[in-house]
Symmetry: C3
Subunit: 332 residues, 3 copies
Amino acid sequence: MKRFVDLAELDTVAVRDLVTLATRLEQSPRPQALAGKVLGLLFMNPSLRTLASFQAGMSRLGGNSFVITPGAGTWNLETRLGAVMNGDRAEHIREGIPVLASYSDVLGVRAFAEGVNLEDDLNEKVFQQIAQLVDKPLINMESAMNHPCQALADWKTLDELDVPSNGKFVLSWVNHPRALPLAVPAAAMTMAAQRGMEVVVARPEGFEIPAALADKARKLATASGGSFTETTDRAAAMKGAHVLYAKEWGSTRHYGDAKADGELRRQLSDWKVDESWFANARPEARFMHCLPVRRNVVVADSLLDGPRSVVLREAYNRMPAQMAVLHRLLAR
Amino acid sequence: MKRFVDLAELDTVAVRDLVTLATRLEQSPRPQALAGKVLGLLFMNPSLRTLASFQAGMSRLGGNSFVITPGAGTWNLETRLGAVMNGDRAEHIREGIPVLASYSDVLGVRAFAEGVNLEDDLNEKVFQQIAQLVDKPLINMESAMNHPCQALADWKTLDELDVPSNGKFVLSWVNHPRALPLAVPAAAMTMAAQRGMEVVVARPEGFEIPAALADKARKLATASGGSFTETTDRAAAMKGAHVLYAKEWGSTRHYGDAKADGELRRQLSDWKVDESWFANARPEARFMHCLPVRRNVVVADSLLDGPRSVVLREAYNRMPAQMAVLHRLLAR
Amino acid sequence: MKRFVDLAELDTVAVRDLVTLATRLEQSPRPQALAGKVLGLLFMNPSLRTLASFQAGMSRLGGNSFVITPGAGTWNLETRLGAVMNGDRAEHIREGIPVLASYSDVLGVRAFAEGVNLEDDLNEKVFQQIAQLVDKPLINMESAMNHPCQALADWKTLDELDVPSNGKFVLSWVNHPRALPLAVPAAAMTMAAQRGMEVVVARPEGFEIPAALADKARKLATASGGSFTETTDRAAAMKGAHVLYAKEWGSTRHYGDAKADGELRRQLSDWKVDESWFANARPEARFMHCLPVRRNVVVADSLLDGPRSVVLREAYNRMPAQMAVLHRLLAR
């Protein structure tokens, strides 16, 4: 494995191997495995879980890390090719990225969607540009349309909960004060499709999954015996579900148009998860969310604090999942 | 020892053992003792000494650490139970804290007083809420009314300076541009009481020690042969003193009322320490302060730079004191 | 070696030894050399390369580091002696610096020029004040008029590129939206002089090298068989050059006067490097810059992305150069 930027770049056997390795590293710590190795972490956007779990995981393997946060202690980075840099961005990624890579044995990069042009974000314009500048192992710590570390942690969580490989996985849109990126919904639904699950996306009109992502999920599902469908009928989607994976995202119909997006979501305050959503689900159905989550806006306290919720397990699994990735990329 | 949140939770023998361990770790470094262990550090408020001394101390024991600072690279954390999170706080401590704890072998948390309601702060409302969410060893890196790491470092400093266990310890209020929390004065006076000292608090009217804290100090003093009194008469307090521990704090009479507090302190500019305060003290009397300290507002340059001042020793002792705590919580 | 604050404090043999050690540490990693050692890093100003290369380098030697950034998680530090600290700076460097040093085995400090009074900056007023407060090994991570880590990395880069010791080194002023400090130009030209090169500074009227710096360069050049001259004639300077080292700096004639500086540089937009500058240089002449660099303001994309540019190599060499410094200061 040379880089970890999209779970779908790995075949299903390779993903299962990573999950197995993650579990093994949990049970048998290897505090010298990556001695003297350095993980560079570049956060173009805020983080809590990703920062903490990568630094903790690298330390548990005997390695170390550094953190660069443009705009907080470091100048802002320019990403536009050909820019005349007379504004507030003192350094271009064409220098910043290879320099950071040159200090690192592996580089993790977080670069959220720009949220302006859907095609650009679907094409991972910024992340691809960054990736081309890195001649070391590279980890995607969330790009415009992907979050493979979250997906791998979620796969591990599903395994631990004995959710069947062909179980029903409902990804539901939920409301939020403003438009958020599609990275996690894209990563979660393609992960579930690759795992062989019956994937159903429930979302209101205006929040359709872009065709390119739906096609990707459908292909992965076909290859592994699963399926992928999309609906506005939440109750039908939840029928017999093993898992409800809730996630906020911005209107794809009005991508980059905060006003139109806001008008649409103002009428959708009932897309807030509570126990009533589980009326027709399997009794043991689980509630998943990648965190951070806005309590009593996205999900009711009672559900989040109740037995269906496995959000803390998902978050914890970020660490062993990423330890497996680091180990695979760097050991020997 | 399962957690280190209040020095008074330990009996005096246990505190003395920690001081001894701190000295031993200074003299005989143990750079492999905590190999592979991870210290999570959550700073809800700014820090210099605490951040640096914990990271340095953990490194000297062979472990590693990560730092999370809400509002700087990480979203702000909500603390109110039942909050409808449609504002600027994207994550609740009910998720954030257990997630960070799950990546850590020990978690350190700094959460200053809210400074609004005195009872809430005396009850450590926020810190208690956080503590209940942590199922790992926990270190209080300063809460509303406590700062046990500072207290342990100060105890060690007093020992090193051969200040007698039954010596006279004067905690004096000093002025400052604005109201500061009671955490350090509370920790210092209860530490000195627990050490068996003759503790006298000197402070102007309006800055009385809250009854709950005074009672705690009195009980600790009684158990160890010391005493605890409070006075507005600075000169009388300083008579025969071994130690002047200066500290700024907000009006307890006007708690949370910045305007009334400001009016009160405007008339108190003479509560600035200089050599004249030591006229009736013991000749070798020491000046202590936890830092940071505002020169020529809280204390005159000449005193701070002179031979009475032991503030740098106090600050240095944060590191070995905390190494002892980490070692006790984690080793073997 | 007790401290690393100015390359010119070392004789040429000692510098060459450091470069050799840097190369050796690149080829034969020593991941246990500094086990249990702590590097404190204090950034009074922003950083990318310096932060990342020091943390990565220290990790590769088995040590660890902490970072303090006043104004971002830590209060701002006062530097003025005798200040009445009733403003927004809660701590004085007279406490902050020795405290951080006491937690560290070696302390790195970045403190840019104040940019108000040229004499003060030439005298390194702030950095000298800081240095006097440190009783541990100290590293200058860029002061008002120096950047020895950059200079050492550049020396190593020149060696690797087989630039002759007596080759022609042109330091040219380049334009920038605002006045920048003289630290890097001063460090680069004195480094090249110490290396024995024919040093020519090209710069417009108003941007003269201050006499004290020119004298220092001239003395170093004399001792090592090189030379130091200054000119406004860019084309003449570039004739037969082995290296063009481009750097932005503020007007020395109007030091600290942003308005007059701005008027001067508004007419100097042709001081932007492109291939035409190399018309009379040696065919294999190199383009150097310390980074960050503003593309298409300071240098054309085509040159920076072309074969003359060695800016990434310079930046990478920060890490091994600093590893050599850390090793020399700390190992056995």
